[in-house]
């Protein structure tokens, strides 16, 4: 399940809708400090079901909604959609489609929505979708900023967990 596209709106510093077309083998994201690069990583992990606000560098989950700037007021909704390419290794549930779009929304009032191909689902459906593809939000396929050295300096048991992800 390669990523074809990521669409963000109202998520962290992405107040206006923005879209990343990722169909090529190697994509690079560049820009000055604080411009929003790592926020894209957070957006991907959030859409895939990440439940810990702290792991998204916030105190509460509401911190992912754009909270305003000098020129704009806060947003009322954060929405991220990630479109994946379906391939023969994809989960059975989506083999009939050529692509699958996972969407997550969070409203200021705290209510959240999950959708697969625009159909409302539960969080469990989203995490089930990614189980087994090795692409879960904890696996070795997403190395966050500053955490590359952690694998080496972690305790031996933690390294075992890391290897178990690949089992």
């Amino acid at each position: 399940m390669r990523i074809k596209r990521i669409d963000l709106s109202g998520f962290k510093s992405f107040c206006d809708p923005a879209s990343l077309d990722l169909r090529q083998p190697v994509s690079a994201v560049v820009g000055p400090n604080g411009c929003g690069k790592s926020n894209v990583v957070d957006a991907l992990r959030w859409a895939m079901g990440e439940q810990s606000a702290r792991h998204l560098r916030g105190k509460t989950m509401e911190d992912v909604i754009f909270n305003g700037s000098d020129s704009r007021g806060p947003s009322g909704l954060a929405e991220v959609s990630v479109t994946f390419e379906v391939d023969p290794h994809s989960p059975v549930a989506v083999l009939d489609y050529s692509e699958v779009t996972v969407t997550r929304r969070l409203h200021r009032d705290g209510s959240s929505e999950y959708l697969i191909n625009k159909l409302p689902v539960r969080l469990r459906d989203i995490t089930n979708l990614f189980l087994g593809t090795g692409v879960g939000t904890k696996a070795y396929s997403i190395i966050e900023q500053g955490r590359v050295g952690l694998i080496v300096s972690a305790k031996p048991e933690e390294r075992r967990h890391f290897i178990e992800e690949a089992a």
Binding site: M1, R2, D16, V26, G36, R72
Partner: protein, 158 residues
């Protein structure tokens, strides 16, 4: 479950022993299961030896050596059980230019099987991208995405 773990461990170890000398241009490294009644309760030690050096504990390695050893392990896991995509957020920050060049060669090679998304400030790393995205905040506090070419990226990211 236990067999699966041991089988995966052996395969990751095999790949790690190949990737490490590739990134370090020599030396050797391997994974060792710690003594435990049950492997699923034990841990995994990393034994590594950069080229020309004595075997050292991981803690005595330099910042760049640790990052490179960790990347070798990540790629070894990737080779055993590729995931459809891999996202690296500034893993090249502690590396010198020679190591950045070796890292990007390996990424280029692995990208035939999986998709790579790389966040970086390093001009050398940018050069392997098929497509570059610039994130700007022309309006302070508001992120915008623009498609950029290499020379624009090296200016924007700088």
């Amino acid at each position: 479950c236990r067999e699966r773990f041991v089988e995966t461990f052996d395969r990751v170890n095999e790949q790690f022993q190949q990737v490490f000398p590739r990134l370090f241009r020599g030396g050797k490294a391997r994974l060792v299961l710690t003594e435990a009644e049950d492997v699923l309760q034990g841990g995994v030690e990393i034994v590594a030896q950069p080229p020309g050096k004595k075997l050292v504990s991981i803690d005595m390695m330099s910042g760049g050596e640790k990052a490179l050893t960790a990347t070798s392990l990540i790629f070894a896991m990737f080779l055993v059980r590729p995931t459809p995509f891999c996202l690296l957020d500034e893993v090249d920050a502690p590396l010198d230019d020679a190591n950045v060049l070796r890292l990007r060669e390996l990424v280029k090679e692995l990208s035939t099987g999986s998709q790579f998304i790389i966040i970086t400030h390093n001009h050398n790393t940018m050069e392997i991208a098929d497509r570059l995205f610039g994130v700007t905040m022309e309006e302070p506090g508001i992120s915008k995405l623009v498609s950029v070419n290499l020379s624009e990226a090296q200016r924007v990211a700088a």
